[in-house]
């Protein structure tokens, strides 16, 4: 019984952590129409960032500032933002699929850096041994994980509310205006390139936050955690749920995450021995099929975007 409960705690913690990344992607793709093909890079910057800033300096390790946890998370989020700023500055004013290519490239470069820059990132072995806040106080893995689940859930609620507010604010309408018709937005005196850059950086920082929470949960990060499939998983979560709709983003995350975990369990239990090596392969095909079929059959997702009218207009709307 306790096994099932602790598994459920793990499942929900990861589901909520991923939801935060999907919400960040929703700001970029759903609201603004920016294609980020390298979610794993910004997630990874946050994940590595929190351990580098918050972890203690170990033998053979160049960096380890041992900052208090809130500062470590802030540093991780800023690191993801900095990475987004560099990529965005070069690409957000160009042909739209350049951003897709450049972000896809940055994910490969970040993973490559994590694998090779051993003095900083620990190389293929990754970074281990990070003292999580309150771990010594609670001193029981089960209760700690439960407390961490609540913490992640609270962060998710906060991020969700911030994004909902952005969505209904004038800035949110500007994002959608740029997505729908850039020239028209420009004719109203707005600067699409700048606004796109802002949305791109902010969305990437949210992904960084998600990565930081991920690395905190495991107190460990390695290049294996930031491989390209992570980007595609997060994309499939957003599109299944419904891009442009924050509720859909969270809903889609939990559905796809359950499908991923569930299919993994079923395959390890029931697939013949010679197929066991190919479980990952089958799951990758599944993610690919989810993406393609959703685009073909239900491009708006399960919970489509809702038309948002300004609250002040809604108030004076005639009966």
């Amino acid at each position: 019984m306790i096994g099932i409960v602790s598994y459920l705690v793990f499942f929900l913690t990861m589901g909520f952590v991923l939801s935060i990344a999907v919400l960040g992607l929703n700001l970029q793709w759903g609201y603004t129409g920016l294609f980020n093909g390298g979610v794993a890079a910004f997630f990874g910057a946050g994940a590595y960032g929190v351990i580098l800033f918050g972890g203690s300096n170990k033998a053979g390790q160049l960096i380890g500032f041992g900052l208090p946890y809130p500062f470590a998370v802030a540093g991780a989020v800023l690191l993801a933002g900095l990475l987004a700023w560099i990529v965005g500055l070069i690409t957000t004013h160009l042909r739209h699929d350049y951003l897709a290519i450049a972000t896809f490239g940055v994910a490969i470069a970040v993973e490559n850096f994590a694998r090779n820059a051993e003095p900083i990132t620990g190389g293929a072995k990754g970074l281990r041994g990070f003292e999580r806040p309150f771990e010594t106080v609670i001193n029981d893995p089960f209760w700690f994980n439960l407390a961490y689940l609540i913490f992640v859930f609270v962060v998710l609620i906060i991020v969700y509310n911030i994004l909902e507010n952005i969505g209904q604010s004038p800035f949110g309408r500007l994002l959608r205006a740029i997505r729908e018709d850039e020239v028209a937005a420009q004719s109203l005196g707005k600067s699409p390139a700048r606004v796109r850059l802002q949305a791109f950086i902010f969305g990437s920082m949210i992904m960084g936050l998600s990565g930081a929470l991920y690395a905190t949960f495991y107190a460990f990060i390695s290049p294996q955690d930031i491989v390209p499939i992570l980007t595609f998983q997060i994309w499939s979560m957003l599109i299944v749920g419904g891009s442009g709709n924050n509720k859909g983003a969270v809903f889609g995350t939990l559905i796809v995450w359950a499908g991923w975990v569930g299919s993994g369990w079923v395959l390890t239990q029931f697939a013949p021995v010679e197929m066991q090596l190919y479980i990952g392969t089958i799951q990758f095909i599944m993610i690919g099929l989810i993406i393609v079929l959703t685009l073909l059959i239900r491009p708006k997702g399960l919970l489509p975007e809702k038309l948002i009218i300004s609250r002040s207009v809604a108030r004076v709307k005639p009966e």
């Binding site: 990529v87 490239g105 940055v106 392969t281 990758f284 095909i285 989810i290």
Partner: protein
């Protein structure tokens, strides 16, 4: 140094072949096709199957040519595979991209191409296994061209380079001497106007997939000859192909050829100053540099 130069030119010729199809699709259908590199591995595996089939059906074909490790059956297999891969590209377009083209924006197609790449790559590994394959089990020895500096070149590599150049030359004549070449140019400059002049757009799109897929298949086989045939081929090459297209300028076929060679050279020359582990990141740096100093590439048109 000279070894890196030669390796760079060799890899460059392979990238050029792959980038031609990618640049045509990116220009005509206006989307970055992340599944294009999977056509290279598809072509390489289809060739592998045909090669083994032909060898078992006509044993005489399994003779090697000259001092190469290549067999006659492999040559025929490549030609068959070009057709199969080209037709597969048309089928993928018909199944996925055409439908999305009709209903949504180009970025949705970029998105779908990620999904297609995942499906194709992993289906290949499901069918052929995770272990890489070789066209010939025979060990070929490299010819030592000089001792100091040490330069090793395989005859196969010389053959690959020559064939790549010949194919590009043939394609050049097709572009500059045939009605099809003119029609392609007309469509890429102004699709609407070219249709008024009797160019069938739908047919041109199919031909672009057919040619792009065929050239990708050759590139995949050459890459497989030079390294090994692996389902990860597409994943390893996709960024280099995009770098080649962006360096050359989207839509410029000659640009893609030059871009392919430049990216191949730069990636191999970078090894002189970078540890080899960083090689996969080099195309990304090339893309960033080109986009920040000359986003239209070498031969791209201003927009």
């Amino acid at each position: 140094m000279i070894q890196n130069l030669f390796d760079g030119i060799l890899v460059g010729s392979i990238l050029s072949l792959g980038a031609i199809g990618l640049t045509m699709v990116m220009h005509m259908l206006r989307f970055a096709n992340f599944s294009h590199a999977e056509l290279l591995s598809l072509g390489a595996y289809v060739t592998f199957v045909f090669d083994k089939l032909l060898e078992s059906m006509v044993p005489a074909l399994s003779q090697t040519i000259g001092g190469l490790s290549l067999t006659f059956s492999l040559i025929f297999a490549i030609i068959l595979s070009m057709g199969v891969t080209g037709v597969s590209a048309i089928i993928i377009d018909w199944l996925v991209f055409r439908r999305i083209r009709d209903s949504a924006g180009p970025l949705s197609m970029v998105f779908a191409s990620f999904g297609v790449a995942l499906i194709v790559r992993n289906l290949i590994s499901l069918i052929f296994g995770l272990k890489p394959k070789l066209y010939s089990e025979e060990i070929t020895f490299a010819v030592r061209v000089s001792l100091d500096p040490l330069i090793l070149i395989k005859l196969d590599q010389v053959f690959v380079l020559c064939m790549a150049l010949v194919i590009m030359l043939i394609f050049h004549f097709v572009l500059s001497r045939t009605t099809f070449g003119y029609a392609l140019k007309a469509v890429s400059e102004n699709p609407t106007l070219s249709q008024i002049n009797g160019v069938r757009l739908a047919l041109m799109i199919r031909l672009i997939w057919l040619i792009g897929g065929g050239l990708a298949a050759v590139a995949g086989v050459f890459y497989g000859l030079n390294n090994q045939v692996s389902f990860l081929m597409g994943k390893d090459l996709v960024l280099s192909l995009f770098a080649a297209v962006i360096v050359g300028g989207i839509g410029s076929i000659y640009g893609a050829v030059v871009g392919g060679f430049l990216v191949g050279l730069a990636s191999n020359m970078a090894l002189l100053i970078l540890p080899s582990g960083y090689k996969p990141a080099v195309p990304f740096l090339i893309i960033l540099i080109i986009l920040s100093i000359r986003p239209t590439g070498l031969f791209g048109e201003k927009k």
